[in-house]
């Protein structure tokens, strides 16, 4: 099967720090791919190069087999890739609805929209409310309240809801459940299953091993700026995966080359 998103030999340095050291990446259509790795392994940077938020030094990225070069996150969004960044990328002083529709605002039809450029706030607010309810974010009372008045978990929920609502081909989530409660974390997993059922591919970066093993089809293990291996969660235990990503053990296909 041809990968929907494929990357080969990605290289990126920040000053003297090596962030990506020839990393490869493959995302198959309709799968949930988990990306795990130690802190500083380069997971977030790899994701940012895939979405155009960080520019590569060298390496090749293909979408549906065609080489692509995203110069900014706007480019990847227009190709149907939505991302939940670790920093969430929300504007604190603006409302929930404003944030969800940032960069793709709805205008009123007719003269109000075309000439007066007036935003259709009621429709945007209704849509935002629906998406938050789907995620079970029911403790948000006022959809017009500024994002800065929300808790960390609620903010994360908004970022996830935004990506799930607008992603049409690929959704990338960088630690989407870290600040969420048990109930909301569960809702995010359910939501990801729904999104997968719509035929959309998902990349999930997480340190939550039970979540990773429960939901993912394949697990990409990142170590020291490159892909160490890809495992099937059915063939390995969580402690195996932790051993691989921390370097305590080598995956079998690499063991023959590097005897301990």
């Amino acid at each position: 099967m041809e990968p929907i998103l494929q990357a080969r030999n990605l290289i990126k340095h920040f000053g003297r720090v090596t962030a990506l050291d020839g990393a490869d990446f493959d995302l198959l259509p309709g799968e949930i791919l988990a990306v795990i790795g130690d802190n500083g392994a380069g997971k977030s940077v790899m994701i940012k190069t895939l979405t155009g938020a960080v520019q590569l030094e060298s390496g090749e990225i293909k979408m549906n087999g065609k080489p692509i070069a995203f110069n900014s996150p706007i480019d990847s969004r227009s190709e149907g890739i939505e991302t939940v960044y670790q920093t969430l990328a929300l504007s604190p002083a603006l409302s929930i609805a404003d944030n969800m529709f940032m960069g793709r605002e709805l205008r009123y039809p007719g003269i109000r929209g075309r000439i007066f450029r007036q935003l259709d706030k009621p429709t945007m607010e209704k849509f935002a409310r629906e998406k938050l309810s789907e995620l079970g974010l029911l403790t948000i009372q006022n959809i017009r309240q500024a994002v800065e008045t929300l808790s960390g978990g609620q903010r994360q929920g908004i970022a996830v809801a935004r990506a799930a609502a607008f992603g049409s081909k690929v959704i990338i989530l960088d630690e989407p459940t870290a600040a969420l409660g048990v109930k909301e974390g569960r809702r995010v997993l359910d939501l990801l299953q729904d999104v997968k059922a719509r035929g959309i591919s998902i990349v999930l970066i997480s340190h939550n091993m039970p979540h990773v093993f429960e939901i993912s089809d394949r697990i990409h293990i990142h170590r020291l700026g490159k892909r160490l291996t890809v495992i099937n969660p059915k063939d390995y235990t969580m402690s195996d995966a932790v051993a691989f990503m921390t370097g305590a053990a080598l995956p079998p296909e690499l063991e023959s080359n590097h005897p301990p």
Binding site: A89, S91, A93, D98, G103, L138
Partner: protein, 357 residues
Amino acid sequence: MSNETPQEVNLEASLSAAPSEVAEFAEQDGGVIRKFQHILHQNPALVPLIVLIFSISLFGALLGSKFFSPFALTLILQQVQIVAILGAAQSLVILTAGIDLSVGAIMVLSSVVMGQFTFRYGIPVELAIVSGLICGTGCGFVNGWLVAVMRLPPFIVTLGMWQIILATTFIYSANESIRAQDIEEQAVLLHFFGTKLPLGGVNFTFGALFAVLLAFGLAYALRTTAWGRHVFAVGDDPEAAELSGVNVKKTLISVYMLAGLICAFAGWAVIGRIGAVSPNVGQLGNIESITAVVIGGISLFGGRGSIAGMLFGALIVGVFSLGLRLLGADAQWTYLLIGLLIIFAVAVDQWIRKVSV
């Protein structure tokens, strides 16, 4: 660890029984002050409005009919109009967490271009005015390009541009004014914004009317268009705005260009205000506009505030200076009080920001 399985979902089995409607809480009583803080957080223009009403009633009580005379109100409006127009430009830039020290200089250069094009080259006055407006927009574009694309700090960029534009103005105009009589005889359109609209004894000018209409237009654009939301987002957190799909460079350049255009309109209005075209006016335009913006409750850190607040801020300065002058006080008292107001306004801004903590 080795025996664990992914099937640990029983832990969360009871979740289906959890309630599924939007939570509602009894309105918590956090005291009058806390409520007030919340109201201010949602309506940052309220503080300057309260100060404005307070200062009008104070001077009204002290001066009586002398302060509410048509003459006094005319004077306030005439003095405030230029600051209010420049303040509108300044507000846009400060909302993006920038600052524009060149607003006054752009205003003067644009007015000199309008005058010199008409009188030195004999270009029809309409075309000369359009040239002046283009000149102001062009200066704004240079500011915006240096800030957005070259990523230089707005303070430094506009500090440099202020000097450059001012020097250009003096060199180009050879430090010569164009007399009011000549304008009256040959190019009366340059005086358009000085046209008086008598209304119950108070002399409104088109300039004052323009300042108010401009404020309404910008307030509308900031509140109800995508561009306005982007201006706030860029001022709030440019990185987040970029990641969530805002074209930050384009937004910044558009803001500085629009600010330049508005400054050029201020240049047209200043000809109507003083009658002549002079390269020596508006030297304090940048400081006065920043004062109006800060007293108007717009945060210098970007992303917070409203155009209405700036308008109130400009009026507060106007009311104070005229009121104190009518009381016969030394002009320095005005500056002293304005200084106190600026510090008060920034302190209130910091306090309002704490609402979410």
